[in-house]
Amino acid sequence: MASASVIHGWTVPPGVRWRAWEGEVVAFHPGSGDTHLLAPIAGALLEAVASGITSKEALLRHVAHHLDLPSDDALAAIVEEALATLVRRGLLSEDPL
């Protein structure tokens, strides 16, 4: 698919609320009304996007640094899945850069 070559960035859509306590992140989506408790990596990603980090590479670096993990393919796969889930739940939106 052509979309694979499009470079995406992420933003937190308006209306999404979130809070972090001791590294645990909860988030609310105003449309679905769902409230989520995020796993550490998903939580770190949401916080990072909200703080202005938007590209996949930068997010991967941020998570690796933040959680003190090697920035390798295994982590990249987890980050990718977490981003997809956050997008599906409306907690992040995927925007072409």
């Binding site: 796993a39 703080s51 977490a82």
Partner: protein, 190 residues
């Protein structure tokens, strides 16, 4: 909001835990640990009265919808509809309950859908899977939903077996989490 909260115990490897095993542990959890579903303010639901610890129930609410959970089907192999087999037991505990199942029951591929990750496993074995092998508990809920559809009438469960099978086939790749939540809602009614 505390965007810059320092990493703490919750999201860092525990002391003595290698990076690899931490990654493995993280990979075994889903990105979302827990969801409290929004009850759209306009949805018809009677849960409010239930929560108010009263006996009062609302008129016209809920037809007698029913479903049974994966746990039920795991512990009640005798209740399986005849068109599906849990297989034979390899090891029993003292109470006579089966602790370990042979992989000779109806396969997941036959009972639910042919082209999936659970290659070769029986429905019972998929019910028992956990953690990394069935991260969203999607397989377990799919098996339970198929068994529920076979056990109950369409009027009671809302779906027949082939409808559950196509629901699974059409969504397990694109929307595993949403699919699991829908199936779970079906299995946990009643």
């Amino acid at each position: 909001m505390n965007q810059n909260s320092p990493p703490t115990s919750a999201d860092a490897p525990t002391p003595g835990e290698g990076r690899r095993s931490f990654l493995k542990r993280v990979a075994a959890t889903t990105p979302i640990l827990l969801t409290v579903a929004g009850r759209p303010a306009w949805a018809t639901t009677c849960s409010i009265s239930g929560m108010l610890s009263g006996n009062a129930s609302q008129p016209g609410a809920e037809v007698q919808c029913q479903g049974l959970t994966p746990g039920y089907w795991r512990n009640h192999p005798e209740a399986w509809p005849t068109s599906f087999s849990p297989g034979t037991c390899k090891k029993r505990n003292h109470g006579g309950k089966c602790k370990k199942w042979r992989n000779d029951g109806t396969s997941f591929a036959d009972g639910v859908f042919g082209d999936t990750d659970y290659d070769g496993k029986s429905m019972m074995r998929v019910l028992i899977l956990g953690g990394n092998d069935d991260r969203y508990q999607l397989g377990a809920h799919a098996v339970a939903a198929v068994l529920n559809a076979a056990r109950f009438s369409v009027q009671t469960f809302g779906y027949n077996v082939s409808e559950i099978q196509s629901m699974y086939a059409l969504r397990y790749l694109s929307d595993p989490e949403g699919l699991k939540e829908d199936l779970q809602s079906l299995n946990e009614r009643g």
